[in-house]
Amino acid sequence: MRERWTDHRSRSLATLLVVLSVAMLPAGAVQSQDKGPIVIAVPVGLSGVNSVVAPAVVQSGELAVEEINAKGGVLGRKLQLVPLDDESGPAGAVKAFNTAIRQHKAHTIITMETSAARNAGAPIAERAKTLFIYTSFYEGRACGKSLFINAWVPEQIVPPLIKFMTDDKKVKKWFALGSDYAFGRGMIEAAKSTIKGVGGTILGEEYQPLQQSDWTAIISKIRAANPDGIIYSTSGGGPNIDFMKQFKAAGLKMPVGSLSIDELTAEAGGDAAEGVYYTGDYFTGLDNPENRKFLDAMRKKFGAGLKTPNSLSEPEYDGVYAYAMAVEKAGTTDVDKLVQVLPTIVFKGPRGQVQMNKQHHASLPVYLAQVQANGKTKVLKSFGLVDPGNQCPSLK
Amino acid sequence: MRSERPALAVEGLEGGYADSAVLRGVTLEVRPAEIFAILGKNGMGKTTLLKTMMGLLAARSGRVEVLGADVSRWAPYRITRLGVSYVPQEKSIFQDLSVEENLRLALRDLSEFTARLEAVARWFPILKSRRGQRAGTLSGGEQKMLLIGRALLTRPSLVLIDEISEGLQPAVITKLREVLTEERRARGLAIVLVEQNVDFAFALAQRYAVLKVGTVVETGRTADVGARERIERHLVL
């Protein structure tokens, strides 16, 4: 080419390329680990939206690994936890899953992620024949041969909440609202079918775009509709508080059931969410020996650095235990064997008894809770073990 | 009055815009309490010279000294604080600001504004009577009064004026001439006039310089015999 820059530039850039490829060499290095530790990868949102809970997830996993290793590990091998950042999204998940499987030679992936990240990561795990235990509650119906879920789906927590509010709070006329995304809409769908089932009516149903934090128009519609109660499902964290702050400030007083709030968010919101009812499978206030032991161990291990355990992080602990028990029982880390064995494993942990037996989903205990004036959550009652229903009919 | 120091000294000044050299080594000196005219045709670098002296354009080389201070690389506002007022040529009032606001812009210490305004209003009563009016609605001549009034408001020691006589009625020009002469006489003000209007320049200035293609081709006293003829030769076709 005629320009003078082309010549020297192309040469120096080619040099750069070579330098870059050489720099990448160590990343490709292969290490054999058949006799080494059993590697559990945790691709989790260390950055991005999930970074709020991600550290707690990692801590739950670390405690489980430490406890199991202290008892001699599994099949004589130690467990090793490898946390990775999935940037809370699919692009990061693709990177993190590949890093886990190809670089760290992970035997399993046990983690909590966004649905999009899970959907991006699951096929990678599937292709690499790596067991994937998903530890986040979600909108349901994610199925895969080597994919297991040990947290709740809408069928497990929505009906108990709706029934409670109908029976105890006499809510007949409902207003349903949510953030406009898969989880928000999925939860409201579940709520609507339950409401219809118990003979209630729905006066209005509204969805707010995810990025929008101003609920003015919807609140005005609620006021105009004047329902007996509210059921809502925003995206996690902030939007719960956005909505509740504006709802309260507007002077509305009807009972509110939330399908998206969690202990951490409620507490961070101060009095904003006071009075809100919600259901879940784990609360720090659960009064059982396993939970007290779990919380004590966590406090002891992490001290001041402890991230408060919550419903998104505790299942990681259960997941690691379930995996270890399955490997022990199967006598191998081979994924085909584990897929057979895992549904037979019953782990009684801080949540109570959890078993991933129903089409790779878990039957688990569900509790009712209410946010107090100081933002703390109080567990009101237990609904006992609840079945996830038909999630993946194609899996037996 | 520091009579030993020149009010303005320019030495070998070169500069211009981006890549065009307009000034090609300008040297001149203005004494205290002197009115000095810089004459020349359009496009010969007169305005560029003023802007470069004021620090509005970067000088490529050379030296500018104002009231004894070397201001060669100074920002415009620092030069103004030495007691220099600059009256630029075109559209140099803020059309959408009021007359009073235009005047206030010149001052840093507003406590003296009223007193100063009184002083200036002696010359141009209109600046006081129309202080609330939008400056853009003033007539051409009134705008020029505002320009000069604004420059004098700061009680400067040196005023640089770019083509003030441009397009004005004779009566207004006479008025401006009176004002500038009187200010010089009363306060020892030094004035640099950039002009094409030789009559106006000669009526005011004691000395002059002719600028041609970025250099001073002639300097002299306006009182000199034949000065006018020589200058006109430079200026007319």
Partner: protein
């Protein structure tokens, strides 16, 4: 093309060989980065080369992702179906890109406005996907069945796509059209006044870039197996710009290395200090924008080549290459064009070539608010005339020329060029009627060579290739004359930025003459020139009027110069025509004296 071909062969070889040394992990990570890099290359084409800062390319990537995902999820299957979906994705993106271009690029749109529109695009895209419910998969994404390809195959597909896009982009930016893109970046107004339909070209480029970004997205979703809104969101859009800026805008390789580098390092860092990493990227970005606006690649490349030069390596080799190219380039690069506009207008010329009226102004006024800059100006000009327009500063001279060169400028009155009204016509249309304007300060394309500047100016009349770069330019006789006289002929390879002020003035004159105008508007063509340069320009202008029968309107302060070359003088004062007449009469008149010497004090 020898060196660039060698350069791409090297890259291709590197790509083909790299799986031998890179593990599967690196291949996987790099494949992802390669797809993103394709989108970054489109950002570079738009921003680095053409000057359109866009935050919206992620949206087009996302359109590619979702078109294919939705097609595969609901409508088609198999290789042919997938291919059709990919084509569909590109078509959809091109259409939306053209629509966005139409919204963004109009003659008076500011670049800031364009940046903000493209910023809004991913926001709209994300909202549409999120509210699409199960159909789009909303926030959970839309998982799709993917072809069973090995990682190495994906690596080659991604690398091959990137290489292909980089090569096509390279050919484009090196072509005649590429030169115009750079010219638009450097000075879009000048381009319009050279008769180029810049908005149309930008809209087409936007559409093409969008299609390419969509292709990248369409391939990526087959690789990544899930469509997610984050592939088309605001964050990804800004990341593409960040990567491009870090690597180096306007280099093609910069965005590629920037994208690959950032993605690779972030993958290697894994979960270690994710926020610190983002913070680091943020800092690096700000530092690069402030201190190294050309990006890291040119900076490192520059110092590397300095280092090799210092070591004395390869210098001779390079000289030989440059020398060889120089020798080839030395064959006639500038030729006389066969046709002249004047010749083709022969019908009019036969009758009364001498005095054909080509420009007529009737009561033209221009107001800025209450300010009247032009006040009922009427004048006529004929072929072969050089009309000197004189008057003091602020008389409205430049405004007058602007009104003739841009039909949208005047506030009232009629302007006719060759008998046609120009009211409402933008500059490029006025050029088509035969008006050329030379600006007051020299307005050339600093980043281009002299030859390229001429070539861009000539593209209004000559064909513009999308892939070839012509090394010759055919100029009409007058332009050629200007190039000759000013000595530019021996400096064709030099960047215009290196020219002296005078040479730039001459170059711009030659560029304007390359349009074969009938009416030539010159705003102080000799300002800041040396005596010799003035004389040269003067001779060119006289030649133009006498031999080529151009009608020239000339603003000039140097009355000596005006007197030498004008046939007529128009004196403007305060927006009005004071005198209009033959040179001899006006030049000696009292009016001129009054305006230039005595201005009003004479009574």
């Amino acid at each position: 093309m020898v060196s660039s071909a060698r350069y791409f062969v090297l890259l291709a070889a590197l790509l083909a060989a790299s799986p031998l040394v890179l593990g599967e992990y690196a291949q996987q990570i790099l494949s992802q980065a390669f797809f993103f890099a394709v989108a970054a290359v489109t950002v570079d084409l738009l921003w680095g080369y053409t000057g359109i800062l866009t935050f919206g390319q992620s949206a087009f990537f996302g359109i590619g992702v979702y078109t294919v995902a939705i097609a595969l999820a609901y409508y088609v299957e198999g290789v042919m179906g997938t291919a059709a979906a990919m084509v569909g994705a590109m078509v959809a993106a091109a259409l939306i890109g053209a629509a966005v271009g139409w919204l963004s690029f109009f003659d008076r749109a500011s670049p800031i406005y364009v940046a903000i529109v493209t910023l809004a695009l991913p926001v709209v895209f994300t909202q549409v996907i999120l509210s699409g419910g199960a159909y789009t998969g909303s926030s959970s994404g839309l998982p799709i069945p993917v072809p069973a390809l090995s990682i190495m195959q994906w690596y080659w597909i991604a690398g091959g796509l990137l290489l292909l896009v980089a090569m096509v982009s390279y050919v484009l930016v090196s072509s005649d059209t590429g030169r115009i893109l750079v010219a638009i970046r450097e000075n879009e107004e000048r381009c319009r006044y050279l008769g180029l339909r810049t908005s149309r070209l930008k809209i087409r480029l936007m559409a093409a870039s969008s299609a390419v970004a969509a292709l990248a997205g369409a391939c990526y979703v087959l690789f990544g197996s899930v469509a997610a809104h984050s592939y088309g969101d605001f964050v990804f859009g800004t990341e593409l710009v960040v990567w491009t800026a870090l690597g180096g805008r306007g280099t093609l390789l910069g965005p590629i290395l920037g994208t690959v580098g950032v993605n690779y390092v972030s993958a290697v860092l894994g979960g270690n200090l994710p926020f610190v990493w983002l913070l680091f990227v943020g800092f690096a970005f700000v530092l690069v924008v402030v201190y190294l606006p050309q990006g890291l690649v040119p900076a490192i490349g520059g110092s590397l080549s300095r280092a090799t030069r210092a070591a004395g390596a390869i210098v001779n080799w390079r000289k030989v290459v440059v020398g060889a190219e120089g020798a080839r380039a030395a064959t006639p690069q500038v030729r006389a064009a066969a046709s002249m506009r004047g010749m083709r207008r022969g019908d009019a010329a036969t009758r009364e070539e001498q005095g054909t009226l080509v420009l007529e102004l009737r009561q033209v006024s221009k107001r800025y608010g209450s300010l009247r800059v032009l006040d009922g100006v009427s004048l006529q000009a004929r072929r072969g005339e050089v009309v000197g327009i004189v008057g003091p500063n602020g008389a409205g001279k430049t405004t007058l020329l602007r009104c003739i060169a841009d039909g949208r400028e005047q506030s009232s009155g009629d302007i006719l060029v060759n008998g046609r009204h120009i009211a409402g016509l933008p500059p490029q249309e006025c050029v088509a009627l035969g008006v050329s304007r030379k600006f007051q300060t020299p307005n050339v394309f600093d980043a281009l060579s002299v030859l390229d500047c001429l070539r861009v100016a000539r593209s209004y009349r000559a064909s513009t290739s999308l892939w070839r770069r012509s090394h010759t330019v055919e100029l009409p006789e007058p332009a050629l004359h200007a190039v000759h006289v000013s000595g530019l002929l021996s400096r064709l390879d030099e960047p215009a930025a290196h020219l002296s002020h005078g040479a730039k003035q001459a170059l711009e004159l030659a560029m304007v003459l390359a349009l074969e105008p009938t009416v030539l508007l010159l705003d102080e063509p000799t300002a800041g020139l040396t005596r010799e340069e003035r004389a040269a320009i003067g001779s060119v202008l006289m030649e133009l009027a006498q031999s080529h029968r151009l009608c020239i309107l000339l603003i000039e302060h140097d009355l000596d110069f005006v007197r030498e070359i004008s046939t007529r003088l128009v004196v403007l004062h305060m927006g009005k025509v004071l005198v209009d007449g033959p040179l001899a009469e006006v030049a000696e008149s009292e009016v001129i004296r009054t305006i230039y010497v005595g201005g009003g004090t004479r009574t």
